[in-house]
Symmetry: D3
Subunit: 263 residues, 6 copies
């Protein structure tokens, strides 16, 4: 399994990988963010890394070192940046970082660079960095392609119905909920303490943000819904649905050969 | 009506406004972006400005000059930045601009600064700028409050059912669709040409972005769904629902007095 | 008249406009800045927009949405940034904004991009953004041209003599004075209150700036001279002189065809 | 062992940790950089993380997620940024990232933040970010302390003599050499292939840099000296010397209590 | 004379200087810019440094090392950035530099920091940096004062009449003309070659800028007017008028004591 | 001698210089930094400028105006940024400045741009700026070359033995020590006061940095070792060794002709 992780390869093996047609690198992005009393702070990075590895095996890609820090947690999707354990980047640092890393991979010859996001708040800043990097490379003659995706956008209706038999209430309250906890129970069960899962009703979120945030507007637990229904079996359903759907998409989108105009 | 627009006030009247308890300024943000053959390029700024004016009258606020340019249009919500007529800002300029303008209002004594967004892609960059401005002001002793909202997040289920009697398919495909066209028919009918409304099925969007964008992935019309069902009457339903719901929220959130710690 | 405003066009009409030889876009820039008790805060943006429209009609150009916020008001030309009603951008935001918008127009095929400035303090920051945008585009093969101008630089001696029969004392004290007030009386008379025009002598300005500014160094009225002599007739003289002279200059400078090397 | 890694803690345990006097977080920083044919690309991050964990156990600290990407590899210390496998950040992204992460830890109450560097080229950019973060926090009343160190600066003369019995030739040529290989043999032997260790003489480096780099100026292997002398036993000597010396230094420098002036 | 230059002082003498009430530092700013065939490239920095020294002697200040590089030369005031010998900074670097240097002086206790500009194009960027530095320091309790001035703004009418007996045509065409050449003949005669002074009529400048610049719009000599009338005697008149007027202004503006609120 | 200084040349002579094959510009960089009671604040800039002039004469180059301000002084090499007289730039300003100036020289046709550093703390930030400038120019077709060096890296063992007959203790403690003082005694004896040389033992430096700095960790004198052994004769040995070695290196590295691909 470790063979899909780029950081474990020596430089000669990596050079051979890059010399192949359609070489693809996947960059998982997460966050260091509180996920309630039953989950560890690194959930977002752990899950995006694990899903990236599963997809990498299926499409013959490599997984780059994950981004362990993400954009500021927002109350409407993650509990808020004020909660202890949430250690965040601002927009400029996150955008600059993805721009530099993607540019570096493209410069060295990667045909496809996939950014697989695991922290909702990151998406637009990753978009800006990836757009800038690919556009700049394109102006210099590169034909490399970028793809940006968040893993939960690949959960299909059928899987949702199985994982949430009582009805799915929306991704916004899934922070620390059934989705993430089920995946963690499958992938890192030693880091989950189901005895400490909260049992409060789903958070009622406002359709707006206020500054400075009022901590009383989201549950003190840091979870936006209860993960009582989480199981490793549901985690497996989710992992298979997600990695399968991403793989299908990538088979459509990845450039299978060297890009036209490549150096 | 022009009395709610800050740019129409003389400086003495504005100074009096700022000297009142709970003084509130609303900044509408939009974009310059193609909206298909039947709508003008300025739709997003026009709508956020009009809704802001309606809300301002109800809560006693002033409307600041709107942001006419927005973040890059993205295919999954706006047709894409490659379409002619779409003239955009990058992340740094948009974030810097909102930060400076909000800081300027807070420095001069505004108790509440509301950013009312009318272009989906703007949200996270506005969040960053508003968060930075309010946090910086707070560290210097200001107690002013910021609020960030997108107007479509205030359309309730009942209104949705009336406006979309055949079923609502999601906000992502509403670019150039029934929502925006109905509001424009109400507010700026002279700028709408219903004879040129497209009649193709809703766009099928991928749950990911690719770079560089492939223009063939979204409809050539620039609309993500048909606006055939748009009417001024539906525009009125929407405007009343939205401005009413925003007003209700602001009555809860606005600081009615001078903030504690104000200079 | 609204036909010269880009935001009022649909995307197909705009695409046709861009497809013509010598297509020209004019970006008016202003400020949100106090202009004394008799003028509204939006004077600078209103005037640059109106003059741009007049010029656009004469040269067959379109007027882009104006920049409503400008660089910090300075005491030697505008009363100072400390006066209530003055809501400003810093240098980086203004420069970044003009760079992004100009780049966006050039990328989409505009042959000429004119920036028509209506706020003295903006000029150098607009210069930096426009220079960077055109130079970058040029390195990528674009032959598009940029032009930067402030409208008062086009008032000829003869017109000055008519508008200021008692002698012209210099542009630096014209903030809130006869020039701006006359143009506003012509273009937006409903926003001018001549009963409230100040009647103090022209401000005596130092040939230097101090930081932090001492508010006592400029008149408390916010005007740097009296607008008693302002009339709509003088506004017409000014508008015709300015728009005529700008049109003459643009006939010399605008590229009448597609630029060499255009994509 | 996993108990020292912050990302494995739940938010309540982490909050308890932060509530203790003298709470200390260590941020390991590395790079994604070729290290010759016998070592993996992730050496710098792996070693700084492992040493940080060892130190954390001894001083009761937590290890934050490591920085897996570092500043551009330079020929005089790392073989050069042009070699395949070297995926780097520019100065602004690295500095911005450490500034944001350190600020985030200080804001949440960490009394001491240690940055433990494992990639030579990072040092000055980490210095800038850490200096800015601590200075800014200090101006806002924080008394938190930062410490910046590179692990090899803690190898004493006695250990050097044991690890390099034939004489130590300088840190500059240790890229992919005996130091890093010995530590990897101890900590990640499964990722080292001693059969592929190069056997060429130490690189002869110029006392200057040229731009653009000439790849012929450093060995094609990517190593600046041979790691033939590397053994796990020497790795243990190094690890013990380094972690011991760092621990001794931290016992002197760490604030054992809440900083004066803490919120 | 060298005693007024800060770089020539030892640290103890400098510390004593800073410990006095009303301590004042003057930062001269110039450019590296062609000034025609008869003047050296460093004119702007040389003149601002010399004038700063003269003023420093009169007000008891120190002269900091001059800024030898300035903002891009513009055709309407300096011949244009395309001319050989003109080596320039962009806006961000110049603004960042003055901000950092002024902040550094204020942090170390300077009561007054004067920026004396010798290159027209610099002014607004120096304004931004100085404004930011003083405002930031002020928010942290500093009462230090900044002053920004360009030396030619202190030439009085009487002196003008003596130096330009045939009439003064405006500062904009003085690049490489009588003003600068006279001052150089007084201060650095060995660097002036009057045999090579151009003898063409004053440049006819447009009231706007175009991008990219057309080199044919300004004289090929690089001078905007002839310096035939320059003499060292006129240089002395200018130097005395300028330094006298600046000294008078500074006696009004400088804080003679430690600022209120100083640390 | 003044003929090697670019600022003393007129534009026509400079244009001739640039038109020659292999034209080379050397940019000296220093700092404004305390160097103890016996040396002036400008030592670093003075020495790099003087050495650059010596090298320029030997290789036929020009010396550009020196950078008089440098990166923050660090305790491990310069005494620390807190000491009075140390007036510093942050990373972004220094990097931006070198990037702009080098880009400007390359744009105007310089075949080689050498940055000769005289302040230890500058190196990495100069590297970033120079790397970015040369890489950007290279992508646009330039073949110009950059070289970055610190002068002390060219002192050979033999010279060291002569200058430090009692043994050389390392460059890190040479701040204000024998090296700099000897060179100053040779080049600017009027600015050195040997009666005030400190006589304390070499500073004992920690192998790490702490933030905020504790001023008690370095000698109050501001010197990291005693300069008692400094003489002008040793200064001559150093100057000759350094300029000779740099000249030898430049003869190897400088492009003797126009770069391939030059405009």
């Amino acid at each position: 399994m470790s063979a899909v992780f780029l950081e474990n390869l020596d430089s000669e093996s990596y050079a051979q990988f890059l010399s192949r047609e359609g070489s693809t690198v996947i960059i998982p992005t997460g966050a260091t963010e509180q996920h309630g009393p039953h989950l560890p702070l690194g959930v977002d990075a752990m899950l995006s890394r694990a899903i990236a590895a599963e997809v990498a095996r299926q499409v013959g890609a490599l997984v780059a070192p994950e981004f362990s820090y993400g954009y500021k947690s927002q109350p409407r999707s993650g509990g808020g940046n004020h909660r202890l354990g949430t250690t965040s980047l601002g927009a400029a640092a996150l955008t600059g970082m993805i721009d530099d890393v993607v540019s570096s991979f493209i410069d060295q010859g990667a045909c496809n660079v996939i950014v697989l996001n695991g922290h909702f708040e990151n998406y637009q800043f990753l978009y800006e960095g990836l757009d800038n990097a690919v556009a700049r490379a394109g102006r210099q003659g590169s034909g490399s392609r970028g793809v940006l995706m968040s893993y939960w956008d690949f959960v299909d209706e059928h899987t949702l119905a199985q994982v949430f038999p009582d009805g799915f209430l929306g991704w916004d309250i899934e922070h620390g909920g059934v989705l993430e906890t089920s995946l963690m129970l499958l992938l890192h069960p030693e880091l989950v303490d189901m005895d400490r899962v909260v049992d409060h009703p789903p958070a009622v979120l406002t359709p707006y943000d206020i500054f400075p945030e009022d901590p009383g507007r989201t549950p003190a637990s840091g979870c936006l819904s209860s993960a009582k229904g989480a199981t490793a079996a549901r985690g497996r359903l989710l992992l298979e649905a997600i990695s399968g759907a991403i793989t299908t998409s990538l088979h459509i989108e990845l450039q299978p050969t060297f890009p036209i105009g490549v150096k």
